[in-house]
Symmetry: C2
Subunit: 150 residues, 2 copies
Amino acid sequence: MTKPPPDPSVDLGPLDSFIAFHLRMAQETALRAFITSSSQPDFRPGRFATLMIIRLNPGLSQIDVCRAIGRDKSTISPLITALEKEGLILRESSAKDRRSVTLKLTPAGEKALDALLPLVEGHDQRLDAIVGDAKPELIALLKKLTAGLS
Amino acid sequence: MTKPPPDPSVDLGPLDSFIAFHLRMAQETALRAFITSSSQPDFRPGRFATLMIIRLNPGLSQIDVCRAIGRDKSTISPLITALEKEGLILRESSAKDRRSVTLKLTPAGEKALDALLPLVEGHDQRLDAIVGDAKPELIALLKKLTAGLS
DNA sequence: TATTGTTATACTCTATAACTATA
DNA sequence: TATAGTTATAGAGTATAACAATA
């Protein structure tokens, strides 16, 4: 059976006034909606975010990517390896620090990212439509939470 | 190595204006902060939410719990089994529908939940302090997202 | 036929720890 | 000593599918 939709008829008590609870519900629901709507089996938010960050910050290292998206280096390693195998990114060892690598997109990577962008934008427009004018404030609050809890 | 803190110096481009991205960052950060601060190995948000919902809605079935927290029944089953084994909840088969069970807390379950509550409240007060007056609006927006995407 | 609950299984995401190589 | 990256491994958390019992 599939995951049932949330049922507001149940009394949530204090849960209903917890930011953390609603944060989780919204995030999970949004992720699920995204996966369903994209229907691209090989396409997960982490892939997109990584490609985008590399495009915008060519030459950064893996550890920089980790910091940007808040993951450990061991989490990023296999993803980077996969993207390289698929010919979407290039790794060169850094001249300055030979422990680290510099990352950039290949032309194929640029193309792949361009193809994904409308998909992601389409999804986020659904979210935009739901929150309406409050979007800037919502994003500001979410950023404050992320920063304030780090 | 540990997960590094988010680094705002990286250019996120369009990512920075995606609700979904910040939703994910905030939720993950909040979860991590919660686990760190509670430092109760056996205590995870899902356990707390389940106990609380059963307290407030005694007599509901497992499928009702699933709907309330947006999980599949196969996800809830082992959790309910564990809570019963620990003597925190009681299951009786429903008189009305013998396929389903009715759930309620035992006295030990009430006590366990009471012990957990301050921990959870303490954590959410951290979030409250960060968002300040905007809390009601934030929760309203998150609920709208959850409802609108279901 | 549909639903409640269980179970087996698998998948995704994540981190820790131990390692190499460099700094 | 500390950091960048790899790899092996393990642990949450989740769902799908098949099933039994019941509706």
